[in-house]
Symmetry: C2
Subunit: 312 residues, 2 copies
């Protein structure tokens, strides 16, 4: 259960007066989300999701909320933030920055089929195209500089073999530069639990709080590393081909992107290996119960290193 | 059936490439709407309404489409226009300005109940509040200057008694100025057929193509004159009180608005009497089958003149 901040119906009813959404009917906590508090809010007009941000500050939210608004306005499946009468998407509630977004149908899937992987690839490419007119910029806070710095702090705590593997991969990635590849707004965390599916149709991408401006191909690699990963932890070739085919149905990869693809898959695995190592060895308070196995991405990275066929 | 402009699936499929909405699945004409051509468009991502504008030009659309986008962003129930990859809401299709909007549930009601009237009044006030931050401006093309000019051209064709009644009302309205009353964006045509209801809930206001900046109270009068009008053509007091109560639950009327209310109800009846007279005596080609009885608003106006109780 991830309701960290309690909101009373009385204070919510008062806060809702700043919106055009009618009267509060029901408030119900949502048992999902790791770093934020989420509620379903039903009013006389409809159903919304209320998010209270436990880490992000009010002045850090415009990039993410305006991005979602921009994408929703272009028909990309994602929750649409609701603006209040001051034309703001967020304001303080119970002492936390808070926002309301439209409520989507659908739910996440644990074991996607090829049609669902195709749909994810297609919608990801639509998101990349539609965000080309989004005017705000955000650098990736989890880029090469971050993983190098984080790894350096972790080496003393890691088993020697793991430290050597990590050090070697970071050196390998440092020897590759991708600044020349197509860039734009990336979701940067498009795992299975961040997509709501309605059958084989995408009901919505959610949880845009790692979104930033970076290399588009990197976003596809992050998504593939989760969506096409089977229960043994390696990549299912059929699912991998489906997500790539869906993506290319909208935005065919360039020759340079195709050349960079094997290294990019490793970069995407490295980024989550490092963040999971960080969560494992230095858990933030309140997140301990959600710590996920870093070994998943270490093994995937090592499988990528040994691989010959990258499904292109 | 109001499909004036035919669109082929081939040309629509091509045009849809400029959007992030997936592949065309089905195209189906809509038998509603007087001055525009409407279709339901189903794609692999969802269902939308396509409008081809038969009268409005491309450069006249931004006020209306950006207004709907602004209202939808604030949670006011209305169709949300979809932006294309150039960030435009409209472009040419089959030689006509065309746009896509989200598809709403619900349908219009011919004989609303008091709860529905309350909901319409409430949502109208929400619309008025939410549009206070809308930056564009549009003068009312159907204001006093228009009805005076239009009536002058019609007098020679009208029966003498009708002409006298019309002339007298215009003189009466000319003797009242309302510039001091609260102004903002008004729908200006919120009749029963321009609201989709889902039970007693508003699914959406539609058809914003008379929207403009004018006196807010005038918008309430226009809506009440249609929503609360009974089969005899006079106002049902219970429905009238419901729509006013719904409106005031969000934006209580000022003392000056309460004083102006009886005259405003007459102004709202006059505006539609004149436009229906114009349609009756000078029908535009293609609209002849939709000409509505001008006498409805003449009789309502005369009932307002004789009235003592205005449901406030």
């Amino acid at each position: 259960m991830s309701v960290y901040t309690s909101v009373s119906t009385a204070e919510l009813a008062q806060w809702l007066q700043r919106y055009a959404l009618g009267e509060l009917v029901e408030l119900k906590g949502i048992a999902a989300g790791i770093t934020n508090t989420n509620y379903f809010v039903t009013t006389t007009h409809g159903r919304y999701v209320l998010t209270l941000f436990e880490v992000l500050q009010l002045d850090e939210l415009p990039y993410f909320l305006e991005l979602k608004s921009h994408l929703a306005r272009h028909g990309v499946a994602c929750p649409a933030p609701i603006a209040d009468h001051n034309d703001h998407f967020a304001s303080l509630l119970a002492g936390k920055p808070a926002c309301l977004v439209s409520c989507l149908d659908g739910h996440d899937v644990a074991a996607p089929n090829a049609a669902q992987c195709y749909a994810v690839g297609e919608m990801l490419a639509q998101m990349h195209k539609a965000s080309s007119t989004f005017p705000r910029r955000m650098r990736n806070p989890r880029g090469p500089e971050w993983w190098s710095r984080t790894a350096a702090a972790l080496y003393p705590q890691l088993p020697a073999a793991d430290a050597a593997s990590l050090r070697s991969e970071i050196a390998f990635q440092d020897s590759h530069r991708f600044d020349f590849l197509p860039q734009g707004v990336i979701h940067a965390d498009l795992f299975k639990d961040n997509v709501l599916m309605d059958g084989d149709r995408i009901a919505g991408f959610i949880d845009f709080y790692y979104a930033c401006n970076d290399i588009l191909l990197y976003d596809l690699a992050i998504a593939l590393n989760d969506w096409a990963r089977d229960v043994q932890g390696d990549i299912d070739a059929e699912l991998a081909r489906a997500i790539i085919a869906g993506y290319q149905s909208i935005r065919p990869l360039t020759e340079e992107e195709r050349k960079a693809w094997p290294v990019m898959l490793r970069a995407a695995a490295l980024r989550f290996w490092v963040s999971r190592l960080l969560d494992f060895y230095r858990p933030a308070s309140g997140e301990m119960t959600y710590t996920k196995d870093p070994g998943v991405f270490q093994r995937l990275l090592e499988a990528h290193r040994a691989r010959q066929d990258f499904w292109l």
